[in-house]
């Protein structure tokens, strides 16, 4: 084996955690001729006042940003996409059935939008943020910043201010859309800062499935992404939302996401995360109306030096609400995952049923999974259960499988697939399941 070159790093200064300089300023805020200007400038104001995350804050205790190279990121220029890696065709394939009702590709400095004419005629808005601001400015202005607010965090404020890329999805009352919508944010290139803002409004009684993926190739220089996802699920509406995170290994990724589910509404929220260098993701489920139901299913698989931190909140803010969270992750190499979850039951939110479970499978000795469940219950007639486990690949199941002729690698794959099966069972979408299975396969084959 080749000896590793010895690298000596002289650290003259320790990066200061309280002040982080970015290479852009309020002068770089997107042009907002038609609406979002004041929202953006007040978000920028908020950004300047928010403290930079440090490990002394509970939410950031396990995700260290001291070496976040904030000054190295510039904004992608208009049409920058022509000089960067193109989108692989595979990412544009439908993941459910064989067609989309619409598809948007968000590229650096541009975008590509397709929406079925029939669907458009029915009143569905599915477009990028720039177009939404131009064509539906008043509607967008009334919705943006109301669910995820700039004050939710440093990166929420930054993304609110800076995001010019994003999606606006509006599904009118009672509309049941059979085919799914699909969007892809493609963020190639190094030394770039990407911002996105996704605003989803599923009106009362409507029903739809939407898949959004963030992806990029691996690059040698670091880049960052800060994003917002805000979701309104109306009364008796049904929304299935699949988020896939397959950023390259160079991306520092931050997101603030919140869904508000109204009376009798139903949200099926699925997360798949295999990419990025570092991710800190806040996902909050607010059950605001009686009988609202939210299910959160998370799949993650880390390797190398990846660090994925998922922070979830299940907020029962009305009686008779149900939440059901299951996050499962496997870890290889020196990677690390954090899942930190909280079920909160507000005073008066009686007959609430909350469940949360996080299961981790640590495949290598140097990988580490932190699993921190939490309950805060301020009502007395509720049912809340939680569980968290961190386990290793055990010898006995592998010996058993091998004794049947299955080679070591194949046996490991079976056990890992078996571990993820409860998540797969929650995803009635073949294409999404196949993507997860493929991710398992790729991660296990990589040395």
């Amino acid at each position: 084996m080749q000896e590793k070159p010895k690298i000596t790093v002289a650290r003259s200064r320790r990066p200061d955690s309280s002040i982080k300089g970015f290479a852009f300023s309020h002068l770089d805020l997107p042009d907002s001729k038609n609406g979002l200007g004041s929202f953006r400038s007040s978000a920028w104001e908020e950004f300047t006042h928010q403290p930079f995350p440090s490990s002394s804050m509970e939410a950031w205790r396990r995700t260290d940003l001291r070496f976040f190279p904030s000054a190295e990121f510039g904004l992608p220029k208009e049409n920058a996409t022509h000089d960067l890696s193109p989108v692989p065709d595979e990412l544009l394939k439908p993941l459910i059935g064989d067609r989309h009702a619409g598809q948007i590709t968000l590229l650096p400095g541009s975008s590509h939008i397709e929406l079925d004419q029939e669907v458009r005629r029915k009143g569905v808005i599915f477009t990028d943020l720039v177009t939404a601001e131009r064509e539906h400015g008043d509607l967008l202005k009334s919705l943006i910043g109301t669910i995820v607010r700039p004050g939710d965090g440093k990166f929420a404020a930054l993304a609110s201010a800076m995001a010019n890329s994003g999606i606006f999805l509006y599904v009118p009352k009672g509309l049941n859309l059979e085919w799914p919508l699909h969007s892809l944010m493609w963020g190639p290139g190094g030394n770039l800062a990407y911002f996105s803002h996704i605003v989803i409004f599923v009106a009362d009684g409507a029903s739809i499935t939407y898949i959004h993926e963030s992806a990029s190739p691996d690059e040698s220089q670091p880049s960052m992404h800060a994003g917002i996802v805000s979701i309104h699920v109306g009364q008796e509406a049904r929304f299935r939302f699949v988020e896939l995170q397959s950023w390259g290994r160079h991306i520092w990724n931050f997101s603030h996401e919140r869904a508000q589910v109204n009376r009798g509404g139903n949200l099926d929220w699925i997360f798949g995360a295999v990419g990025s260098k570092l991710t800190k993701n806040f996902s909050d489920l607010d059950l605001v109306g009686e009988g609202a139901l939210g299910r959160m299913s998370g799949f993650y698989f880390t390797d190398g030096n990846q660090h994925l931190d998922h922070d979830t909140q299940q907020n029962h803010l009305a009686p008779n609400t149900t939440s059901d969270l299951l996050f499962k992750g496997a870890l290889k190499g020196k990677s690390r995952s954090v899942w930190q979850g909280m079920i909160y039951v507000a005073p008066g939110a009686q007959k609430t049923d909350g469940y949360q479970a996080n299961r981790n499978l640590v495949l290598d000795d140097q990988a580490r999974a932190d699993s921190i469940p939490g309950l805060e219950i301020l009502a007395d007639d509720v049912r809340c259960t939680h569980g968290a486990t961190v386990g290793k690949l055990e010898q006995e199941p592998l010996f058993y499988l091998k004794s049947r002729g299955i080679p070591q690698r194949e046996a490991e794959k079976l056990v890992v697939e078996g571990f993820f099966d409860p998540i797969m069972q929650r995803i009635p979408l073949d294409g999404v399941r196949e993507r997860f299975q493929k991710a398992i396969h790729v991660k296990l084959s990589d040395e």
């Binding site: 006995e396 199941p397 058993y400 091998k402 004794s403 194949e410 079976l414 056990v415 697939e417 099966d421």
Partner: protein, 256 residues
Amino acid sequence: MSHLEIKNLHVSIEEKEILKGLSLTVKQGEIHAIMGPNGTGKSTLAYTLMGHPNYKVTGGEIRFKDIDILELEPDERSRLGLFLAFQYPVAIPGVTVANFLRSALNSRRRVENPADKGIPIPEFRKMLKERMDMLKMDHNFAGRYLNDGFSGGEKKRAEILQLATLRPEIAILDETDSGLDIDALRIVSEGVNALAGPQLGVLVITHYQRLLNYIKPHFVHVMMDGRIVESGGPDLALHLEEHGYDWIREKIDEAV
């Protein structure tokens, strides 16, 4: 014809010697029974034959089909035609019986032909149903997670189902009767008997004679303190049932 030949086998677990010079030959088509009191190393023998990493062979040899298998991984031994029905089958949550068996069959096919696409699903389903019928197993068994939440009887039947599917040349049954009621014992034994024949050699490891009422051995061996101390025909088992193991102990002591 395949032979399993064990010569002067010494095996230790965590520095403690358990098998102390065990020799035995099992040929395809023969049924052997190893009996003996608890703690004499019967299960150690079973695990060692299959290549469990915790069992360290410190002397002697194991040859199967004239190949020294001590250097082979458990999966290689299995593909060569060796099978172990576990006393305590391991649960594999999330992996169905069908998926598992298909993987096991396909692993065999791929060794013969790396480009093999795997057993066609309809062919596999048909085969699996036939085998399940033979063992009077409900077809929905195939869709359950392997050994996960199985009753004692279901686990043992699942072992025999694997035996029936993988078609080994030598099968070791480690305490297959433990935890079975009479009905389950009969079904499991009938399964083994249906598979036994010129193509299959069986090594039955058991603490009790009762299994041998159902699976008739050609040879019976008594194991004590890590060795085979007495070998004979089927009547040896009956004799043990009647007189226990003390007379053998005395015989050994006299010899010493």
